[in-house]
Symmetry: C2
Subunit: 512 residues, 2 copies
């Protein structure tokens, strides 16, 4: 397929060359030569009408969701959305593509992973790479200075897919952000409360939420003697500490990034530190760290944050961790990451997914404060401070899909409460009549689309798809004005009068 | 912007020409000449580093959904999804882009409206144009022969946008389809029942569902003397009868499509007919129509369909209409379309949206039977008969947005039940503590992110965003172990003990 695409692109260019020569009234020889090249290229794919084997697949790095996966996805979304709503969030949606220039200059090196649309005349467009940049564009465009919103939608990255670990080229992001000028750390603490509650309610096993602050990192680099122009590159090396041992990270700093050994060792002392509010207090007293105003501002905010987290009752899961760096350029303050501890990942490990990054795969949520991004879009550079969190929903889907596979419990893909069945032939009309009564009363119901289905195959369908009740019609039942209501699990049957049927079905399925 | 894109495309092509000449070791003069053309083009956009004004907009034909629009969208989706679920449907999802060749040859002339992705190496991809072709690809790829599924997702068409009438380049489709070999007309009738119930429940005003059958159309063309090779083009002219008067349609048939006047007039007699089961019976006796086996098969099915529709209690809205043609090539049997009658469109007309197609804008649902599409994807051509319906959700959003604007009623964009407020200063901690209690009990609650907000601004926020209750804390309340619970609408206040607060909030907001 890649070759095919390559040849087709070559044909396109060659066609343009030919058209150009013609429009410039080039010599016949020159044109003929280029035309013959074009024909040779076309011959390689069998000419214009050359048929090649049709490939039945989805695009690389993407997948369909089958009904079972959708049932899990719906459950996860419901949990997450109800948490966002509990915190008073509104929701917005933005188009799947943006003007290319809206995304330009926002993602640094990763810009090469952006999907561009073909120029078919008109605007140059790209698929969105995340939901944060479109959010910032939306705020600036509509001059919104205060909003608490969530946005759940797919984003696109031409990355190297690792589908068994939930890394796709098309994947969901699930973002909650608070924009507005507010008193310090109150919205930040709420974001952490949300990460806590969602990970808790999704029942993924034990987890921790690591917290740090960009200002503490920058202050630390300064007092350890990292040159200003190396802050970013050293920061991205520190970010690898969740995947690499310190010795390797140190080596990268010194050998690849040219940092002095002394500076690296000083960083090493700090990035090993973990704790809570008391660690922030200790570092505020640290003779070296306290020299950096930036670091002190960050540490003071960490202290304030922990005081709010105590009120929110989530400090048992939150760790102040100086090794947390996070890659994105746009963070300006608090940063955080929710990680599953080993217990939570047992299911995945069982599936034998590559061990090489079994440490880092634990990350299932992340976010931080980005006070400068909206200003990049505002014509007058007006800033709107923002803090937000993104739930790593694809990783969570993967874990829960594996869990569902491992467990004996069946995932239902429909919510049908009752199947309308018949015991004898020629009762299609009676079945459809009863079905209509049930539908019109809001009962989820179905029939088999056959004139004369066998009772056994009707019951089998209920077993297969988890339908709890069967309403069976027969000549006798019709005569008596009743329906035989059968509980699929227990096989118990009872005659229910037509007048009472709807109430009885509701009663029996009210927990479902 | 269009010019900009055009110049950039020209620069790209010229760059390729230069590279090609270099790789072919062309003469220095020849290369220099092309390079100078390239530089001239670059100068037009101010060279490589020429900065132009940043444009803050969404791509042409697309829009953001703001929180109010999202609230309406959510309500509409809930209504539709609960109907689909009532009928026992599962749901699936497919990627937003497909291999280009998956879409090739499925949409006839409209293929020019497909968005292609830029070839960045690898597969050639296109954005999905509808949900039906990906559904057929999914069935063939997974060898599924039976499924009842719905799929709600965005699709993409580089069409001429008409945003005030709900026609966008990115828009939702909302499809329900039944695939499988079943007894005639039972699933078809269920699709019509679904259209009926959804349009009814969405409360858009009066509506009709037009029904016809491709076989009746083809049979009619045959007996009216339309040559075989003109069936399709005449069919697409008939399809314009909802927008054009018969005289104009006739003129197009005769003058543009070259049909004989006699044939056109005979068609004219049929396409004016509307009715129910009795019309199908009458046409089965029609000396001309009854000569076509195809037409008879279609008419017999229409009769059967109406008998099921009677059982489903929806015949009052369904009309057998011989002028209904529907554009898509892939239909093979029953076709239908749900249209709002004038009353239902009053709101839109008020907004002054263009009158020119005020007749056709009424279409809000459509579908039909397509028994051949899945076979196009199966390597062995195995057929899976399908029938389905697509709800025209964007038109419905437009109508409901206009309705909401016109009505005095406020659209709530959050579901917050209670705001935790304070009457005096220095109560942030107490507010956060109570907020945590409420959140942990599943109550939707918020605070203002200020240390010392004014009571008035807290109450004002509740008025603005429709929050029904305020839980007010003050020194006295804390001392007494109570909370002052205020109903925003009536301004009534009552002291509630902390122990009873959650139950009281639940009681008061249980209808919400």
């Amino acid at each position: 397929m890649a070759d095919q695409a390559h040849i087709q692109e070559a044909i396109k260019i060659q066609g343009q060359v030919v058209r150009k020569l013609k429009s410039e009234k080039a010599s016949k020889e020159q044109i003929d030569e280029e035309v013959s090249k074009l024909l040779q290229l076309k011959a390689q794919i069998g000419g214009d009408d050359g048929k090649h084997q049709f490939v039945l697949k989805t695009a690389k790095g993407t997948r369909d969701y089958n009904p079972k996966q959708m049932a899990i996805r719906e459950k996860v979304f419901n949990t997450i959305i109800s948490c966002f709503k509990r915190h008073g969030a509104e929701t917005i949606d933005t188009p799947v593509f943006e003007l290319k220039e809206t995304l330009t200059g926002k993602y640094g090196e990763d810009s090469k992973l952006i999907y561009d649309l073909k120029d078919q005349g008109g605007e140059l467009l790209s698929l969105r790479y995340d939901l944060t940049v479109p959010f910032a564009r939306y705020l600036a465009m509509n001059k919104i200075t205060n909003i608490k919103r969530y946005h759940i939608a797919k984003v696109y990255r031409r990355d190297n897919p690792a589908m068994t670990r939930g890394r796709y080229r098309e994947f969901y992001q699930c973002d909650f952000d608070i924009a507005g000028q507010y008193d310090a750390m109150i919205p930040d603490a709420e974001c952490l409360k949300i990460v806590h509650d969602i990970l808790n309610e999704l029942d993924l096993g034990d987890f921790r939420i690591k917290v740090n602050d960009r200002r503490i990192l920058d202050g630390m680099f300064a007092v350890c003697g990292v040159p200003d122009d190396k802050f970013r590159t050293i920061c991205s090396t520190v970010d690898k500490l969740d995947k690499m041992a310190w010795e390797e990270v140190r080596k990268e700093m010194v050998s690849e990034k040219g940092l002095s050994e002394e500076a690296a060792d000083q960083i090493g002392e700090y990035v090993g530190l973990q704790g809570g509010m008391e660690l922030a207090e200790r570092l505020l007293q640290d003779p070296k760290m306290s020299q950096s105003k930036q670091a002190c501002a960050g540490l003071t905010d960490i202290k304030l944050l922990f005081s709010y987290l105590q009120l929110f009752q989530v400090t048992d899961k939150v760790v102040f961790d100086l090794s947390l760096a996070r890659g994105l350029d746009y963070y300006t303050g608090i940063i955080y990451e929710g990680v599953l501890t080993q217990a939570g990942m047992a299911a995945e490990a069982q599936n034998g997914s590559a061990a090489e990054d079994s440490v880092s795969v634990g990350s299932v949520a992340g976010g931080g404060r980005y006070d400068g991004l909206v200003g990049m879009f505002d014509p007058k550079g007006r800033k709107v401070p923002c803090v937000g969190v993104s739930i790593g929903i694809e990783r969570i889907f993967s874990i829960l899909e594996l869990k569902a596979e491992a467990s004996a419990q069946k995932v239902r893909t429909t919510e049908v409460q009752v199947m309308v069945a018949s015991a004898q032939k020629n009762l299609l009309e009676e079945r459809l009549k009863l079905l209509t009564e049930l539908w019109n009363a809001g009962i989820k119901a179905e029939v088999m689309y056959k004139k004369n289905p066998k009772l056994l195959s009707q019951l089998q369908h209920c077993e297969d798809s988890g339908i709890p009740l069967v309403a069976i019609l027969g000549e006798q039942e019709l005569k008596d004005g009743v329906v035989k209501l059968r509980a699929v699990a227990t096989r118990e049957e009872a005659d229910i009068s037509r007048a009472d049927l709807i109430a009885e079905i509701r009663r029996r399925t009210s927990e479902a």
